[in-house]
Symmetry: D2
């Protein structure tokens, strides 16, 4: 361990101002909006200045006041906000869209059309057509479009990806990815739990439940680290809670380009599991194992050698993970810090554009709208496969 000045902290940069962030969704009672705000604030690269925080104008205003926003920049809806901000000299540098799944597409489109950089929660949309439309528009407009598959922001996830790329485990053979929770083990959507209600409602969540909510994270993480893409999958989707309309559990077999095989399990009824996203990758000459709930350790086993515990910012951890660490090894960083790494990398990207320079290559490791499209394609393939009794289905992202 070395005790020294931190990497990500704003104090080490040369900057003349914080970037200005707007937010769609995330008003009182929301969950992920608050996470985005903390993530944006953590490294002091962003300041929240505007919002369309709720579809209820009253709640939007109250939420804006909570957040000490200038009432002038508390908008009634995304369209009004896109227009209003576009008209200002001190307009936002980017918008964060943190609404439920079904309400990503419309605001994203509005802000893209107005030329803003976009940060959107996942899954990108509830249909592949909408997702592709956003990707095309983002490409046309030439803006930054990040999708917050936040688990890619963990330092040791970045480290794992770099190790695979460097050949440390050889050609990938097997990928085991799981994302298990238990908060939907019973039908709490019937008991007024707002987060459960929209996630189990096809109208708001889209065609999938657990597959969209957490399976898409697992899929993204697997591809992000393994560096090979899933070509086909074979899925068995279940709704265990009686009467639930969307899957709350899914098992899949995966076939990757290049011949790797794998399995994905996601569940929201796995009693005792909290947020158990785990990834294990086995290659010809080594393996890697990482678990989100204990994210400061990465196990790397070269063939024929003892497993090595690579600890965040510790001995054997490379530059890529040191760059996105704030504290010395042994001082645990967690979910919020990992999420914040996305915001700081996005800041790097946008500041580079403002300065007419290039962002550091490491800052480009943030999932993009294209990854968002793949996520939606994954969801659709899983749903198709399950309907066809677990037939192999291709991921049709392209």
């Amino acid at each position: 361990m070395t005790i020294e000045a931190s990497g990500q902290d704003g104090s080490s940069g040369t900057r003349s101002r914080r970037l200005r962030l707007g937010m769609v969704g995330g008003g009182r009672g929301a969950f992920i909006g608050a996470v985005h705000r903390i993530a944006a604030r953590l490294d002091d690269r962003w300041t929240l200045v505007a919002g369309a925080l709720s579809s209820s104008p009253e709640k939007a205003r109250a939420s804006g006041a909570d957040l000490l926003l200038d009432p002038e920049r508390v908008y009634d809806g995304a369209a009004a906000m896109a227009a209003g901000e576009a008209a200002r000299d001190d307009r936002i540098d980017a918008v964060a869209i943190v609404t439920p799944n079904f309400a990503h597409h419309e605001p994203a489109k509005a802000f893209l059309e107005a030329g803003f950089h976009v940060i959107c929660d996942k899954p990108l949309t509830t249909s592949l057509d909408q997702a592709r439309e956003l990707a095309d528009l983002a490409r046309t407009k030439g803006v930054v479009f990040a999708v917050t598959h936040n688990y890619t922001g963990y330092p040791l996830v970045r480290e794992a990806r770099a190790l695979v790329r460097s050949g440390a485990i050889g050609a990938v053979r097997v990928v085991q990815v799981e994302y298990a929770q238990d908060w939907l083990a019973t039908r709490i959507e019937e008991e007024g739990q707002k987060q459960a209600a929209w996630r189990t409602d096809p109208a708001k969540s889209g065609p999938a439940g657990s597959v969209g909510d957490i399976g898409s994270h697992a899929f993204n993480l697997a591809e992000f680290v393994a560096g090979v893409k899933v070509e086909r999958l074979c899925a068995d989707l279940t709704a265990f809670a009686p009467g639930r309309r969307l899957d709350d559990n899914a098992h899949m077999l995966l076939r990757f380009e290049g011949g790797a095989r794998g399995a994905l399990w996601c569940s929201q009824v796995a009693v005792g599991e909290e947020n158990a996203l785990t990834l294990r990758i086995y290659g010809e000459t080594g393996s890697l194992s990482w678990a989100q709930e204990n994210p400061n350790v990465l196990v790397h086993t070269p063939i024929g050698e003892p497993p090595r515990l690579i600890r965040r910012n510790g001995a054997g951890a490379g530059a890529v993970s040191q760059r996105v660490s704030r504290t010395p090894s042994g001082h645990p960083e967690g979910y919020l810090e990992g999420f914040a790494n996305l915001y700081s990398d996005i800041a790097d990207q946008i500041e580079a554009r403002l300065a007419g320079t290039s962002a550091p290559p490491e800052a480009l490791d943030v999932p993009t709208v294209d990854d968002g499209v793949r996520g939606v394609a994954f969801i659709e393939a899983a749903v198709r496969s399950a309907k066809a009794d677990a037939r192999w289905e291709a991921i049709q992202a392209g």
Copy 2:
């Protein structure tokens, strides 16, 4: 923890002699034969008195001398041994068959026909027809026929089974079972490694590689603990090592009677994994998690409560696991002790027959020839499914 006299030790029993064991296979250079011998010896219930230890007469004799056997009872083959022993007054009480897979059927049949109790390694046979033949014969002869799915002997595996039966986790929803090793990550069968050679040779191993060698253990363990049977599976089998003729990795989706779903992964190319057999079972009201490499802990999480660490013979461990423990909690027992529990339970069964009484019900938890048949049916279903591009296939044990 309580320090007191142990359960399984022979000293607590009332007996006039040790049971006499014979062994087919297990000569010099063998692996599992020595394990069976230690297991039989551990609780002082058995004494090895006869053997057909190798197909090479010379090696058979040398191995017999190593084991201090009476040369008169060192036989050249199973048939000779069955005949020879049947003719003696002090004949063996049971025979242990510890040869490679393809060489189980013939000796098992010979000893069954001679009326001996049989202890046979897994998988029972290399074809379902042969397996069923043995089951029928065992039934006809009315003998004890145990199949050493030894992982069922671990005290906390028994505890887990009892907890499921007692309703501690409610109706089973999800079963995740894995068995990962790495010793076949490269083609060591080409380098004179005897254990690898027969396991990767279809003539000796049967139609499956990893699926038969370790997948069958995983399958058995899952059913043993979950208390529900797999009805159908969907399998993707791979041989990753270039040129290998049998699978060294398999992924399966499982559907259980009663609606539970699951996944099974077995691999012998998972670099860094030694003998990573793990089982997780999620029910409506709780879950259980156990790992063979750390077998003295069972995690039980009742819904809405913190996970509880049930430690072998420790607080919260029930009578079923205390019965098969020798040492106080905190004094780790392992693979050999778990294996020995099968031998001691088999001894209970045989002694009860000799005495004309009934064995304690707990002593009947040893896998039987019917479980052996299911294991072979599982292997055949997996191979069929994989050939049909992972189509759902039924387990045809019945």
Copy 3:
């Protein structure tokens, strides 16, 4: 796990402004200053507006610019800053002092005399006389004076303290506390490592090395959770690195009021240890175990029952730890979040004073200047004991 709106996030409060923070120390190249800033920012309760960031005026100005401070409020020293801020209408609400140990007393005194609330890093001072002087002055002035023994901010440390208070483990018998690091295993102070240089220099660190730097945290944590005070200790201090002038390792026996016994070990030469602060408390009817490097789990074992894994914000975690959590269980929070809890609690205290109300009792769990005095008394007792060949010495804080 429940996914819902977070507790500490600013959005849930009713407030009209953020509190204004000033900082002494923490300029370019510093470590703990950046941590304080992130901690203050995390929950959006504070905004940094002024600083005397370095003893070098040039560096102070550059550091102020890094942090986007108004140049008018970037001061050349603590005295100037205390005077300057006292003269402003929008003066700071509190000052954070984050200089090396020897440079705490003077600025703390200056800001106290000017009537400011003070947040001071640990150990409070390098002599007990100075510490008592600050405590007296803080009392006279009636201000909030917090000492950042930040490990008390971890949700499950608060939970552990509450469990002990509630009688969950009965009367405390044994306390085992350790704080092990390895970054000073070699004499990196000779190689220009600035953090090591001042920590191993008696002129800047005071009479103790590891005992002051980390032993004081361990001592504070033990008393904080155990709820009983150390009366006497018996210490063996060592400087293992050749030529080092201050201890880099210490072993102590502890005797607590009420009869509990314990041991404290702190080391900065424990190769392989990063920031291994661990605490185990054994009472008559239960025990608790917590480790800083894996802070989202607290093990609670009631006598005669299996250990229970209490997870932050998870099943079985009480209100006291939920209050200081931002994310659902399973979404790890770490060092920065724990540190931030102190800042948010201090904000609660100061806002209550501004509003003429009382802070919630839970917000008073922040270590105070009196805890700071105890910390210095602990250091002095350890040094005295070690000089007298590990004679028992009393903690003379009173």
Copy 4:
């Protein structure tokens, strides 16, 4: 992992008979006697043929029958047994003494005088004078005298010792050893628990309680692995259970030859701990960490590198630990196997004498009567120190 023939199994040796073992103590209701018997049996090197199993003649006979001993060789006492066995051609090769502490000296002396090899449980005696007497007598007689500090038999404890000797961690600086249990947390000695009764009775246990029962194991293990001897200690002994006459908890500071420092904690009232013997050794260039409850992993951290998990018989494990392993890595071995390693090494020593050759050097790693003397000296030093208010006391073994 490699699957191959095992090391310790009798089948690999060349031998004409099993060694004959006698036992003093270990009758019905005893604990450690059964452990010794399993340990002796495990590798098929010994056969139990004689015993003075209880001080009650009736119980001795019943116990002999339980164990299927020839009634002629079931003796009424140690003296009778020493005489009886000495008179036989097929006399025992060694005697195992497994009585409570106070009843070690007399039988050991009787068997030594009759020229038998002796295996004695720990602590060797209840006074240093008696211990030295046995050591002198053993030396005079030239016999093997082993003391069953069984934790030295764990493969990875041997590995750790070899690593320290090889210089893998450099000069030892810090040794942290603990042995915590909870079974005496309440006064179960008052409730008829036989094991508790003699251990808490000064007449049977000697001058110390936990220090003799488990502290002596911890002390032995620390010296065994660290390879340096404790010169002085400073001890605080406590009896927490009201009315208990011997310590049930002890804390000690340790000073080793060569300058290493350490701490020892033993407790039998540490609620939640079962048999938590742990050892951590920190040297100039590396560290080692091992825990008895999870004995198949040894953590080795070279300075500046990630921790390495050395697994029993796995990658990176050396010849010394492979030699005393029976099963491939990943197949956990535990307490009984570790204990059995002592018996097999003692068999090697005795067989070498019978054959007029030398035992392999690795077989000499079994604690001897001299280690037994050091154990008693440790106990006496701890008791002296505690009586003198934790004054430094020397270990007076020499």
